[in-house]
Subunit: 243 residues, 2 copies
Amino acid sequence: MTGIVEHLLDVTSEGRRVPTVLFTPVGADGPSRLVLVGHGGGGHKRAPTVMKMAEGLAAEHGIATLAIDGPVNGDRTANDETAAQLRRDDRQAYRRRYYMEKYDEMVADWRAALDVALARSDILGGPVGYWGLSMGTRFGVPLVAAEPRIRVAVLGLFGYREGVDTNQRVYDDIGKVDVPVLFLQQLEDDEVSPGAYHELFKRIGTRDRRLHANPGRHAEVPRSELIASRLFLARKLGATSDD
Amino acid sequence: MTGIVEHLLDVTSEGRRVPTVLFTPVGADGPSRLVLVGHGGGGHKRAPTVMKMAEGLAAEHGIATLAIDGPVNGDRTANDETAAQLRRDDRQAYRRRYYMEKYDEMVADWRAALDVALARSDILGGPVGYWGLSMGTRFGVPLVAAEPRIRVAVLGLFGYREGVDTNQRVYDDIGKVDVPVLFLQQLEDDEVSPGAYHELFKRIGTRDRRLHANPGRHAEVPRSELIASRLFLARKLGATSDD
């Protein structure tokens, strides 16, 4: 963890405490640009991939990283009755009601965390970027669609098939995403079919979208794509001179 | 052109003189790894994209670049009766006969150039990489399929549709390509349809293939993909520690 400093932020949203952490580059000589990193399913705000993104963004581009637990992960798990119920009961109807509820809560929680981060003197006032795969895309797409301060996003490991109504919100909202998007696909994904990837990618609401498809299963995104992600975010946030 | 030294190589293949240039990094402290760069249609061995690849490979990774004119480009144009005839007559039947002939000639010419380059003391004995888009993929695929010293390739801006028999050789040979491949696609390509891209990509004869699809028309490959190409080649040739 050389190179980053961790700050626990005090964030509340609609009465909920939002477990939030900000990682800033060591030795920054002024306010840093910011990227929001959403963890995947089973992860939390200090999951290994979140840390790799934070360390790389800081070391290579001087960019800070904001991460929250959610919606039923990390410091939120223990006291969350919904989470406990989800673990007991994973019927489709319940999951649907659950996701419908959590989409809006996660948007509100992320926006509250972003407000607190952008009020700090060590963070630039915006624009900011978003990075999140799999569950980080499920809850990231409604956020990117709703939040005008987010001007670039890396998404992926997610798809859409008609009739899977837990994903309908993602499908609807990705049509409203009009910022540059890098979308990551795994060619032998054991959770998302090629057709479902295609349906969601083509629905992105901007022409400035690009797809990186790599060999391997859902959880086997190559490390080179973390580098590509950081370069893409840095370029679009103006932190590097590459086009 | 800071950072590279140009060497004109004396190469003949089946009685043909092969206009060949080798670019080596300035100040290399030992023999360099090598990448073969095939130019696109209308280009030549010192086309701008070839030079950008050569300069970047040298500066970022200490890798040398080998380029040839071909088949009817650069220093080969003037005295090539086939080229003159092609310019006069672009009927499909003629083009077909023309490509059929040139595929094998280009493989032979590249291999002759590679023999000369690898015999030099400033070039490592192999393995080597290949980079070529559009026409560089048309003539690169048969080469990569035939040449065991090539162990990684960047290809793209090319597709396959049943019945387009000038491209049949590319379709057949890409099934024999069993080295890691990065394949580049343009999402609004005005020369290659999405379906034709898909047919060719899925035919690649290795599981270690990845696709980068970018916004823009055929000739609008973003500069960031040249960087991604160089990183991919350098990683697979062992010139960097990234995976």
